[in-house]
Symmetry: C2
Subunit: 652 residues, 2 copies
Amino acid sequence: MFRKRGANFLLTLSATVLVVFFAPTAAGPGIPEIKAYLNGIDTPNMYGASTLFVKIIGSIGAVSAGLDLGKEGPLVHIGSCIASLLGQGGTDKHRVKWRWYRIMNNDRDRRDLITCGASSGVCAAFRSPVGGVLFALEEVATWWRSAILWRTFFSTAVVVVVLRAFIEFCSSGKCGLFGNGGLIMFDVSNVTVHYNMMDILGVALIGLIGGVLGSLYNYALHKVLRLYSLINERGKLAKILLSLTVSIFTSVCLYGLPFLVGCTKCDPSISKFECSTTGRTGNYKRFNCPKGYYNDLASLLFSTNDDAVRNIFSTNTPGEFHSVSLVIYFVLYCILGLFTFGIAVPSGLFLPIILIGSAYGRLLGIAMGSYTKIDRGLYAVLGAASLMAGSMRMTVSLCVIFLELTNNLLLLPVTMLVLLIAKSVGDCFNPSIYEIILELKGLPFLDANPEPWMRNISVAELADVKPPLISLRGLEKVSRIVDILRNTTHNGFPVIDDDVTVPSSEGTKARELHGLILRAHLVAVLKKKWFLNQPRKTEEWEVRQRFSWVELAERDLDFEQVAISKNEMEMYVDLHPFTNKTPYTVVEDMSVAKAMVLFRQVALRHLLIVPKYQGAGIYPVIGILTRQDLRAHNIQTVFPHIAKTKGREKQK
Amino acid sequence: MFRKRGANFLLTLSATVLVVFFAPTAAGPGIPEIKAYLNGIDTPNMYGASTLFVKIIGSIGAVSAGLDLGKEGPLVHIGSCIASLLGQGGTDKHRVKWRWYRIMNNDRDRRDLITCGASSGVCAAFRSPVGGVLFALEEVATWWRSAILWRTFFSTAVVVVVLRAFIEFCSSGKCGLFGNGGLIMFDVSNVTVHYNMMDILGVALIGLIGGVLGSLYNYALHKVLRLYSLINERGKLAKILLSLTVSIFTSVCLYGLPFLVGCTKCDPSISKFECSTTGRTGNYKRFNCPKGYYNDLASLLFSTNDDAVRNIFSTNTPGEFHSVSLVIYFVLYCILGLFTFGIAVPSGLFLPIILIGSAYGRLLGIAMGSYTKIDRGLYAVLGAASLMAGSMRMTVSLCVIFLELTNNLLLLPVTMLVLLIAKSVGDCFNPSIYEIILELKGLPFLDANPEPWMRNISVAELADVKPPLISLRGLEKVSRIVDILRNTTHNGFPVIDDDVTVPSSEGTKARELHGLILRAHLVAVLKKKWFLNQPRKTEEWEVRQRFSWVELAERDLDFEQVAISKNEMEMYVDLHPFTNKTPYTVVEDMSVAKAMVLFRQVALRHLLIVPKYQGAGIYPVIGILTRQDLRAHNIQTVFPHIAKTKGREKQK
């Protein structure tokens, strides 16, 4: 037994070392970062080859170390990594330069691919193809097009066909535990579900408790993660020590606690080979008991997490688990779940929550006793579903995932009820767990709906409190560009031409809003040193000759290496060819709420504010809005009087 | 037998008369109109009480008349009608005027309610809650927010709980055929699905044929519907005669064709009570055969459509149906399906397509013979799924609907494969059936993606070919408003003030784009005769005193009744309080494609085009774009040279 614990310790150590030294972004589930990416926030090094490698190896290590974490979140991240690498044709260093790859090399297709990868991950984790599609739709994706729907559907279809082929191949037991349970992981279809109106009350109670527990879990996890971030700031050694402490604590609990409960006599109707075994799987573990007896807590603790779920979900076995064992199990996994999630290994949230939820569900089933006709195994299923909904606040996708996990369609109405109640109750207390993690990580996630108070501020007021606008001329001096790039961190600049002749009315001179230029393009021009002695407009072919399509698509912002001589500083650049001539604009009077709807729906990075007046001497741009300007939190900082009216009136 | 046919005739007559005289909008499935409504196109009298009533009664009549049409589409429409009536608190004439109803009385909430209604309809039709949610998402809705996801989920949850309660109540046979099949309508879960790689080929073949047949069906239905629209234009009598002809033809075929096939001896393993019955339900109908024998075609034709599906789907009955009977059935229902859909009764497309598809699927199963291990009933299921996907081009929702109809989760991988192949093959030939109907009805549906050639036209070019812009001043003469309302049909006008002092730079005079005013508000002002003797700016309280919130929310465009005297014609109106001060704008250089993305994503009705120049003498608005201006078809009419590059390059 101690050898086994030692192995757990080493596995945890190697997973942590891999993560800490080679790919820190591989820690945790990765789902919040994917969600943020699809919202328009790129986390660096998130989808690289090293992350993928560490995530796979680390996740295997962490799960087999017996830690209380799941492989579901990591699988979603792994799917996204593979999708991203396939989409760009290899790693950043070794990349296939095929021509047809370029048509996919844009932000939208990359987002689509990563969405497909995420849904494939869920599909592989739960063997749930439709659930995977819905998970991507409900939880991960920000923008949804009908094309993504069938693309994700296609990728999960491929996953499930491959999975099935492997299961077929492994059915003779060649592959260890793989394929256990077939395509349905936790089958409860052998129970015919009968329930009457009284049972609905019990089910509603599960949902209620699930919602309360779920939001409590979110609250506690938030506190633990904040504590952990303080520890993790101390350096790599602190991270490793933290992981090892958790690992030792887990091992001690798993090995020690079964001694607390007594032995149970095997039900004579069960064959001797099934009851009281010492193998890896099976519902009845002998542990410290004599032959013919089993230790029910050991049956839960000494198996893989998947098998533990299968044991708790097991139906037609009303007396198998005692309430004392289940209470110990529930409390233990609450503690383990909270303290394991934040350590520096790849870890998923799904399975820990399912374990806690199923334990309390089965407990509730025992407590209901003869008042209910529903099997205790089904109570465990519903408990798991309710805690998931209470913590993650998903509905449709969880419903389908549970349907595909348990293969009992007649359970659908009650599952829906439980999920809706748990989600609604949870929403009264705090946001979902992923939103909490997003905020902890400081990712500027753009919410779907503007806060109601945003209607009372205009974009011009918002522009007023920002630093003054910096704009460029179409024919600009090199020195000014260098100056601006050095002294600001903006990513986009409006380009404005003075004294342009308006084609429609000859003779009229006016200012022209030529468009918006990106920092990356300014850097590209400086790097190529495409400077002109005179300020003159260039022809299109001149630009094409110098800049390839690929070069302009690169987003290279590293400007420090460029050395520009004094002579060159006095030269000019024609910015017109690099300018996006049709930026999206809003009129100065528009409310922030309305601008935010535009910003998010059209998926913008920069939004120009134009004046509502038209006349001589009026500057054609008032300001520029970015994602950070439109975040509720940032607006409240500059308009403190608004913060008072905040509350939780946000329209969901 | 002739009495039965007479009853069918009368039922068809009454359904048609109801539809023709009381609610012409109740004809057909109603799904295309709901789809259009959620895209922003309101069909008049679509969700009224009379439509609801006629749809319910008419649908019952049409289905019980034995016509080849389903109740699924009508149920979706019924759900939407109920949702709409609930949302506005009653019919247009008798409406509850509760205060809290007003918070729901806006376009967005009305759209949400109708989406919920549609998903509840699908849920009720197929007893498929998750399928209903996905149908609303994939096929019906244009804009999707995460809030709608759990709202539709909630409504389908309520539907399924109510359904289950009724099924429980009716389980003793009190309610006739209701509740047959329980929550799972066509249960095929008793077959264990085993298939190998060879079977996948057969399955791919089903998908291929389904795609080809589905697009052929769409093509033929398009032709028939065009023919029917010529007939229907002749008046009400023509409509009624058409319905009755179809009814008689159906009756003759249903009664006459079973004589063509011979009798089959009952399988001795089946009990006498099951084989060779004369009742309403059952798999084996005796018809013209002696005792102990059954007529397999009569078994299909003499039962309700639901039972026919159940019979064709029936598993473990390899020899029950002969291929001759199935061929006759297939051809008959192809003809009936095409010619029944367009008649003036409430009719759904789902069931006819399922019937045709299941027949050809089972035929294919028989043809495969010993090459396949998959049951012939499952072939029928897959055939039905493939034809649906080939005609309607849905994937995820169909997959879940079929899963919930048949309760066999192990069939999921093959179903997904079939659906994807059928959809992809169908997409090569023509658009989906709903898109075809939308185009036939002339509804200006706004597609999700702009056509690629739209990138080559700027919005200014589009504005150039439109009639000149009509704009109003903030303080406008009554006579000019009346004049404009009489001579144009525009629904929105820009409001522009001349010679305004710009607050930021004192002394500068400029033109101000004050905003956009709606025709409905101009009519409201004229009706109230809120005229001023002098052109002066009014105060906010003056407006509040005269116009209630509700009056301004009304969309009353009827302007003819307003009598305005000559004196009043010389007076002024202050339009400022009624103007939307922050219309969405685009710069003149923007491509039509980009403008269309904005237009659709933010769900606009009017989009102002502003100049990129800023200077004296430049008019602040260049043009105004509406839904009609952005439709691909309309642009091609005014830019004929573009039409050549069209092709089918549209990015799906």
